[in-house]
Symmetry: C2
Subunit: 252 residues, 2 copies
Amino acid sequence: MSSDHSSSIGYQIPVVAADFKVACSSCNLRELCLPVTMSEPDVDRLDALVALRKNVKRGQALFRAGEPFMALYAVRTGFFKTRVAGSDGRDQVTGFQMAGELLGLDGISSDTHACDAVALEDSQVCVIPFDRMEEMAREFPGLQREFHKIMSREIVRENGVMLLLGGMRAEERLAAFLLNLTKRLHARGFSSSSFVLRMKREEIGSYLGLKLETVSRVFSRFQDEGLLEVQQREIKILDQDALQRLVNAAPC
Amino acid sequence: MSSDHSSSIGYQIPVVAADFKVACSSCNLRELCLPVTMSEPDVDRLDALVALRKNVKRGQALFRAGEPFMALYAVRTGFFKTRVAGSDGRDQVTGFQMAGELLGLDGISSDTHACDAVALEDSQVCVIPFDRMEEMAREFPGLQREFHKIMSREIVRENGVMLLLGGMRAEERLAAFLLNLTKRLHARGFSSSSFVLRMKREEIGSYLGLKLETVSRVFSRFQDEGLLEVQQREIKILDQDALQRLVNAAPC
DNA sequence: CGTTTGCTTGACAGCATTCAACGTTGGTGG
DNA sequence: CCACCAACGTTGAATGCTGTCAAGCAAACG
């Protein structure tokens, strides 16, 4: 949209014009992001790794399935969803990413992105050219190890989602989802009992293998039972233990 | 069992006694396994990476969730399933692995295995000490890149399973499962139209988020419709295109 | 202030699960 | 060799959870 406009006034504003030169060494997300285990002097060297930052407006795609894979992206601010498209138009939300989390790992396997990454609110990411990442991983064992851990963590996370999708009932799925959110928000210094959902019911439902009406109904049921308060996207967790018990509970 | 016996006759046969010293350079799975993209001389160096082979009898676990993570395992012969355990005893099969595929990637994230790997038939794996793998990956960009692709491929595979578990109906799930099997068997030089399932109905069901009765029913329905012949675990695909159409078909 | 988008709630239908019985296979021992 | 048992697979009938369809409401946006 903005590029349409710029071309109409006679010259093209390069994409990077809206982006920023930055440094890991001075980033407040260091403890959550790639450099988490790296020593001080090594992190300085990382500054050569993250070339620039990139803004993504709410609703825009950071990348789309089929596009060539060049870089990983670390979420700096904002919130993303990733989704894969089924052959018939169905799509499945495969994850939600917040500050400090990495996007684009799916692209490595075939040098082509396998999913879409869409910003759910105005966001900013650090662009990590993958070739350079691998070069530096060869030089810094700490970076190499951390990167492998991040990929493995993603595999383990998806294992957990498979468990959820494979056998849990609607209430258990939503409880697990909310507990996962609270945990990640807490790790980032936000309140884990009171927060605003960045995604709509339909996106939650897609992620959890439910229809949006079911998500809405379960929210209402949780509220009736006093487990939480819900008003549109505003959530207040009232009984975290009860949610935890739901996740642990046997199916029948 | 054999170690019980050996201790009863007065001395302990070390675990590695049943294992074998081996070389990637002379392995017939080179085109399917880790060294797939590596040049001839580099593969020779890989021989230092794969220390030994290990036999796993049908029903035995190669590793279990909670055990310390030390090595990756490349399936040489046989067939495995991986499963995660839900907190209440439910478990979810997260994958089936055949020759050339890697086991243990889940363990990297926390230095602890996150799932069980169980042999579905007498099997043999190559043991790849992970520390050494990382060392060599720093030395050989080709190995590094291939390893990253393998991890990414696992993430993409799980994305696909999420799509399947999240929105597909029983018939579509089983069709997708069978097509995936035929593809992998074909890549290994086996018939893709006639094969024997290595897993039971319950394990297929767990992987697909279905009960074993449903799996059985859908097999029967496919047979009635002339898509395949099924007799216990023996499968003969009669109409692969129809199965493909099922997977592509819209839900309604 | 009206329109659009997202959320909630109700009634009904459908697909998969549950429960149960029966059939088949393979191994063991009489 | 056959009987028996245990494990696995098949099939039927009934229940139930979630999906579907539809209407109404609330919030966001221009």
